[in-house]
């Protein structure tokens, strides 16, 4: 019975991280900051939730590990593709930005509504 409580606490912490990721996506000023908080926090929350579920029910651990590994592999890819596309079409940054290393790369598409 102890492992049920421990796993549920892990799931609760993971859900809290998911909530914080969604909160950051509302609060952040800029597309790139939003992408950063929406990717990292939700990945951690996802993996923590799957770990907690695996602790609660060890017979499902293989499939839960599969889902967690899938998220760990594909989430950086999709967010990287989104960030690259957004920078290429020239989505503006917040005025608080300190340094933009790719600034000299001209946006390829002028007026795409993305």
């Amino acid at each position: 019975m102890v492992h049920h409580i421990v796993g549920a606490v892990f799931v609760l912490i993971g859900a809290l991280f998911l909530f914080l990721g969604a909160l950051g996506i509302v609060r952040m000023p800029d597309l790139y900051n939003r992408m950063q908080t929406g990717t990292k926090a939700t990945t951690l929350g996802n993996v923590l939730t799957m770990l907690g579920l695996g602790i609660m029910h060890p017979a499902w651990l293989l499939k839960l590990t599969l889902i967690a590994l899938f998220v760990l592999f594909t989430n950086p890819i999709s967010s990287h593709a989104l960030a690259r596309a957004a920078h290429r079409v020239g989505v503006p940054m917040t005025p608080l930005t300190v340094k933009d290393t790719l600034k000299d790369k001209k946006p390829v598409v002028k007026e795409a509504e993305v």
Binding site: H4, I5, G7, A8, V9, V11, L12, G14, A15, L16, L18, F19, G21, A22, L23, I25, V26, L31, R34, M35, G38, T39, T42, T43, G45, N46, T49, M50, L53, M56, H57, W60, K63, L64, L66, I67, F70, V71, T74, N75, I77, S78, S79, A81, L82, R84, A85, A86, R88, V89, V91, A112, E113, V114
Partner: protein, 86 residues
């Protein structure tokens, strides 16, 4: 006790879903909306898995996995459309 904690985690996840929908409605351009869609998927997948444990049926994990794969496909297609057009 553990079931109550799972229900609480599901409620927290649903509240996060509502926050992400706020960004989805407000989002100034379509890229912000795509980020909100990504976050919504990443919130919904562990919610599906947790509800699968709550209901005691393993096939719900398959639904979460299939949803993750197809939503990755959708977000990547959106990014590719924005980049150079499907």
């Amino acid at each position: 006790m553990a079931n109550l904690l799972l229900e609480l985690a599901l409620a927290i996840g649903a509240a996060g879903t509502l926050l992400a929908v706020v960004r989805l409605v407000k989002g100034p351009r379509a890229a912000s909306r795509a980020v909100a869609l990504d976050v919504l998927t990443l919130i919904t997948m562990p919610m599906m898995a947790a509800y699968g444990l709550y209901a005691g049926r393993q096939i719900y994990l398959d639904v979460a996995l299939v949803y993750g794969i197809l939503s990755f496909l959708g977000v990547t297609a959106l990014a590719r459309y924005a980049d150079r057009g499907v």
